[in-house]
């Protein structure tokens, strides 16, 4: 069995086809930037598990700004500056070139990865570096190189080292379903199970230092909020109030959790101090208030309420009276699950336009001009989460009856879908920038 597996793997390599599950780009832009990414030259023995050039290529193509040159069309395969002839790349109409080589570090188990990045039109080297790590860190090194390239060309920091949390449910029938909280690279690679349960798990959320996650688990038969440390694995039940305990979201400074509790009758927004456990009630209304999200400065919360009959989005300063709630959306049948872009003006949310048309899309609304832009065209889109560099939004939708994770650029031009795994996948949560 292992031999067959190895055989398949080798034949994939021989065909020049990457063995990894890659993201499917479902919509690209008209004029992507042409970039040549030459396979990195490996000076050691055997075959490396990861193809750095291929990972960089996937990274850059997924975000849509780039189109990578096919390897079979390359006229030369340089691995360092002395071997680069700009004309080889100019005739192929390439704007940028990335080359590199990988070597065993002297004496140890580590490898060194040298990369160099060139502007073909200006005939200059833009960047170059030697990175050291273990062979198990080749993916991380590749993503770091993608970040460098992305930032050089677009001026925006790359988020290719970021990770995602999401929920998977699997199994037939309500009584046999297994629920998992998983963490993976932003592209779905290297998935890890953080918690598995026969009872539902919901609403995963990152601490701002990316060391811990908060989520809702029904493991006691009731929805309760837990915080789990990603390094030690230690987990702690944070709440045990009657009725609904849900929607935990960390404040930007990491000291508090906003949450939803219905202990006083109907779901309202609360903030719990994680050090003192002091609980502060934010909203007080007999309707449903839920889905809190912090403003960047941590001084106000955006949330959803159906106090006018249908879900609409509201904003409230912490410590303000409950009369000082500002309604942000008016022109939709249902607007929900809102989160501000870094500019504090554009609001990502889930939108259903009319009662007649049961389509739920991811949309962005400018709260000053009230201009709304619908980003997706599938029908059951929910749980939008913003990349830490603000460039893309990941969300959950249905494809062929199964839950999948899609991503769209904030201008709506690029879309990609994460590789399918087993079961129903949903509730993505994108990490802060990781170092």
């Amino acid at each position: 069995m292992r031999c067959i597996f190895a055989g398949i793997f080798l034949s994939l390599l021989a065909n020049g086809v990457q063995a990894e599950l890659s993201i499917q780009i479902t919509q690209g832009i008209d004029n992507p930037i042409p970039i040549a990414i030459v396979p990195f030259f490996w000076q050691g023995a055997g075959v490396l598990d990861e193809d750095i050039a291929q990972i960089v290529m996937n990274d850059l193509e997924q975000v849509g700004e780039f189109r990578a040159l096919s390897r079979s069309n390359m006229l030369s395969m340089p691995s360092e500056e002395q071997e680069v002839f700009y004309n080889d790349w100019r005739v192929l109409a390439q704007d940028y070139l990335l080359v590199g080589k990988i070597d065993r570090a002297t004496g140890g188990q580590l490898v060194t990865v040298q990369y160099e990045f060139f502007d073909i039109n200006r005939e200059t080297k833009l960047s170059g570096e030697i990175l050291t790590g273990s062979v198990t860190q080749l993916r991380d090194i590749a993503h770091t190189i993608s970040n460098v390239v992305f930032q050089h060309v677009t001026g925006i920091p790359g988020a290719f080292n970021s990770e995602i949390l999401y929920i998977v449910s699997e199994g037939a029938g309500p009584e046999n379903t297994l629920f998992r909280l998983e963490k993976a690279d932003y592209d779905g690679a290297r998935a890890q199970v953080l918690l598995e349960s026969g009872e539902p798990i919901m609403s995963p959320s990152w601490s701002p230092d990316a060391q811990s996650v908060a989520y809702v688990s029904f493991e006691t038969d009731l929805p309760r909020i837990y915080v789990q440390n990603l390094n030690s694995g230690e987990r702690r039940q944070i709440t045990n109030y009657p009725n609904i305990n849900s929607s935990p979201v960390w404040s930007p400074d990491g000291s508090k959790l906003a949450m939803v509790l219905s202990k006083d009758g109907s779901p309202d927004i609360y903030v719990q101090d994680l050090l003192t456990n002091e609980l502060m009630r934010i909203t007080d209304h007999p309707a449903i208030d839920t889905e809190p999200s912090w403003s960047r400065d941590g001084r106000s919360l955006v949330f959803m309420s159906d106090r006018t009959g249908q879900p609409q989005i509201y904003q409230m300063e912490l410590g303000a009276s409950s009369y000082d709630i500002e309604r942000l959306t008016y022109d939709c049948f249902q607007c929900a699950k809102a989160q501000f872009l870094p500019d504090g003006v554009n609001l990502v949310h889930v939108r259903r336009e009319t009662r007649q048309d049961p389509m739920y899309h991811i949309a962005i609304m400018n709260i000053e001009t009230l201009r709304t832009f619908i980003l997706t065209d599938t029908s059951l889109d929910e749980s939008p989460t913003l990349a830490p560099n603000g460039s893309m939004i990941m969300y959950a939708t249905k494809f062929n009856g199964r839950g999948v994770l899609d991503a769209v650029s904030i201008d709506g031009r690029v879309k990609f879908r994460l590789p399918s795994t087993q079961g129903d996948v949903r509730e993505p949560s994108w990490s802060p920038l990781l170092n």
Binding site: S169, P174, T177, F179, P200, M202, S203, F218, D221, L222, P223, N243, I244, S246, S247, V260, S262, S266, P267, I288, T290, E291, M304, D306, P311, Q334, A336, K337, V350, R352, P358, Y360, L380, E382, S383, K398, G401, R426, E427
Partner: protein
């Protein structure tokens, strides 16, 4: 109205008392009870015994208690009017059995956001909770939990699946 419900309540007590008797007699098998009642029903003309009528009420109560799933219309938190009588029997059953504990599990279909659906499931279960309490159940007998859209009874993106999923289930504890 109050008079009427008092009357119904009295009948309910009687029904419960009789059903306890019936249980002692026949180990409580529902089908057996049904058989004997239809037999006595066919013998009804002429015979002025009150037993057949009460037995019918007993069947009604038993059937009502057998219905443990209550469905809801889209975007509506109130249970259907057609389920009112059935829920009244559930309330009387709880009133007559103070040691009995149930759990009301609220659910929603997958349309709309997950957190909102969690809240909607609770709102539906609370609607039934309040009705049961008004009709004689005690608050401590009933636990409410919402699963939102996390535990669908039927998967798929059809109206039929959505109809099956907007529900409150009564679960014995």
């Amino acid at each position: 109205m109050a008079m009427q419900s008092k009357q119904i309540f009295k009948i309910g007590i009687l029904v419960v008392a009789l059903s306890v008797l019936a249980a002692c007699r026949s180990s409580g098998d529902a089908e057996e009870a049904a058989d004997s009642s239809s037999a006595s029903e066919s013998a009804r003309p002429g015979a002025a015994s009150t037993a057949p009528a009460l037995s019918q009420e007993e069947i009604r109560a038993q059937n009502a208690l057998r219905q443990t799933v209550f469905y809801f219309d889209f975007d509506i938190a109130d249970f259907k009017a057609a389920d009112r009588d059935t829920l009244t029997y559930h309330a009387r059953d709880l009133a007559a059995n103070p040691n009995k504990r149930i759990r009301l599990e609220g659910h929603a279909d997958e349309r709309g956001t997950r957190e909102y659906n969690l809240a909607l499931g609770e709102r539906r279960a609370n609607g039934i909770l309040n009705y049961l309490i008004v009709n004689g159940a005690t608050r401590t007998q009933i636990e409410v939990v919402s699963y939102g859209e996390e535990r669908p009874a039927q998967t798929g993106q059809t109206e039929q699946a959505y109809d099956r999923n907007r529900r409150v289930e009564v679960v014995a504890r």
